[in-house]
Symmetry: C4
Subunit: 201 residues, 4 copies
């Protein structure tokens, strides 16, 4: 372990990200005995939920490296916040399966999507606290990182919680629209990872 | 592999920790056909067992790096003890599911929680032997680590086995209280990871 | 993270490859109550599908290191393409199980093998785009890599999409022949990894 | 990737070892509705199979590092042999579950344990070929490794295939004795890892 502990934090987090993303596929299931071809085509809600969860995990993963890179060290509080973040990430396969099953069977769509959206809200909140703790007063930020880079990262964090809050509210009105919006948020955040290039320039 | 073998021991252990923690979610299940919303709210014992097991694995993971960091090398005996420790960690998802299922269905709570508590007792015993072997007579301890740091770590290990022993006894009287106490132990050990900062100072 | 980001990209990709490959075995199942000995012998389609998927993942894994090695850096677009590639790799255990189950029960073989072949087609397309993006105009290629090495890698990528396209078409006529050809492609690509030695010479 | 490729080979192999070992626990199951306490006590064949498979994977893992350490480089053939070795390791959770289930239900014990023993025989053969290829004529051996160390490793490999062959034959006569012997082999190989210390001295 290097003196700052950032390397080890990254390695463990990467492990959980990679495993949670790969476990998503285990939640797929098809009805036995029915027409398999039709079944596979009607699985599209499962594919949507799978892709949404996978891309979101991938995007969170694409961010931490550059965030952690901007840090000179980690402390005990950040490790605890990181553990909570990983707990929600590793929980994601469960609501993903609920959404896939309920959209396919048209049974319990609202509670399933509410649970799905709530998981993203909690995840976004913890990830925000994680970053605010590290960056406030430049607590753990490396000296070489300019103030404007820290502010740019903070601005990129701003829309996360409100957006996922809207997906939660939307689930009361239209579960499928809520899942589609969760997918859209992942697509929206992909280009914002351009910050990545800006900081390391 | 570096000459001391500590890097490789850490990498394999981290892998098992990350995988076991992430696999916990696979043990979740809901009754088919029932009201999903109610079902999800009544899953709270599963959430409690999931969080308890996840946090405990996380805390064991937060400790070894700094313990291993204090070591100059590993030997064959420590690798064997480490293998036993990983065996109990990778076993944890099974009793976690038993506890989640039994608390939800009010069926077989006592044996399930006894199995859960017994796993933690065995894990705590092996982890203690692991550290006593490494630290006794400073067998594997690096030269730069002061004696008082070794003693501080040893003191942090002291309460583990008795505390988990109490959760085991408690399970005979009240299974849910036993699980709650297991959760509390995880919460109690989080601040004690402050030793982390003290040793590396 | 090193400045170029290639190390981290490799580490996360390796994680997904290793996990997806190892998860394949979870899809095995035997009929309860029947004669186990006969059952195990009649599982040969499952063994074939397991070996085909495992070897294909292994071969993709054997390639990226040397491809990534030829790169001086990664950018945001490559990370996104890589995420899509990992999404298809982590999806593979699902169609693998469909193939294994349908070939064993002689039920729904055509749609199952079509889904299997389609996954390989999509995977081959994304992997091709991944490499064309990185290599076109030597966008991300390291200076030390000679032009003829880049061209040799590109040539090795050429047959991928057409070959998997043929397995897809073949599935309409004979599902088992399609799976056998998918296995043969993996066997065919193993020696082509010889490029590995040529580039690093 | 370093020029020799040994680092990357080790990292991927470690991933598969750690994942396969941790997945073993997913194969545990208990009969629903029955008396859980009795059930858990009658699961001992599952515990035995779990511990045997876990320890064997752990011991294979304890060996490769030092074997790979003795190598100056890897080539394409060794990577292919390594892929086959990982294929058998990642397959192990399936026969482990068969053994655990059949010993518990007294149904199909012979074919289950034959499949289990056959997996170990194949694994031992591939692992032997893996080492013979690397060491014959010191093909991939690093210069600093003395001849007597190479011979000592080869001697440690000698008993593997015959011993597992005996467990296979034994399964015809007594399945449980065969599993017990597989466990004993793991216990026997643990001290033989002492070679580890001798080589690195």
């Amino acid at each position: 372990m290097d003196g700052s502990g950032t390397g080890r934090l990254e390695a463990f987090s990467d492990g959980v990200f990679a495993i949670a993303a790969t476990l998503l596929v285990l939640e797929f299931s098809v009805k036995e005995g029915a027409n398999l071809g039709n079944n596979l085509l009607h699985l599209w809600p499962a594919y949507l939920a799978f892709a949404t969860s996978f891309l979101t995990i991938g995007i969170i993963w694409m961010n931490p490296p550059f965030c952690v890179e901007t840090m000179a060290r980690v402390d005990r509080t950040l490790m605890f916040l990181n553990l909570l973040l990983l707990l929600t990430v590793s929980f994601l396969p469960f609501p993903t399966r609920l959404v896939a099953d309920s959209l396919r069977t048209h049974n319990g769509e609202r509670p399933a999507v509410l649970a799905y959206a709530a998981t993203f809200v909690v995840m976004a909140i913890i990830y925000n606290v994680w970053w605010r703790y590290a960056s406030s007063g430049r607590r753990l930020i490396a000296e070489g990182v300019p103030d404007r880079a820290v502010r740019a990262i903070s601005r990129a964090f701003d829309p996360g919680v409100p957006l996922y809050g809207i997906t939660f509210a939307l689930a009361f009105w239209s579960p499928i629209a809520s899942v589609a919006m969760t997918f859209a948020i992942a697509a929206f955040y992909l280009p914002s990872a351009a910050l990545f290039d800006r900081v390391t320039d």
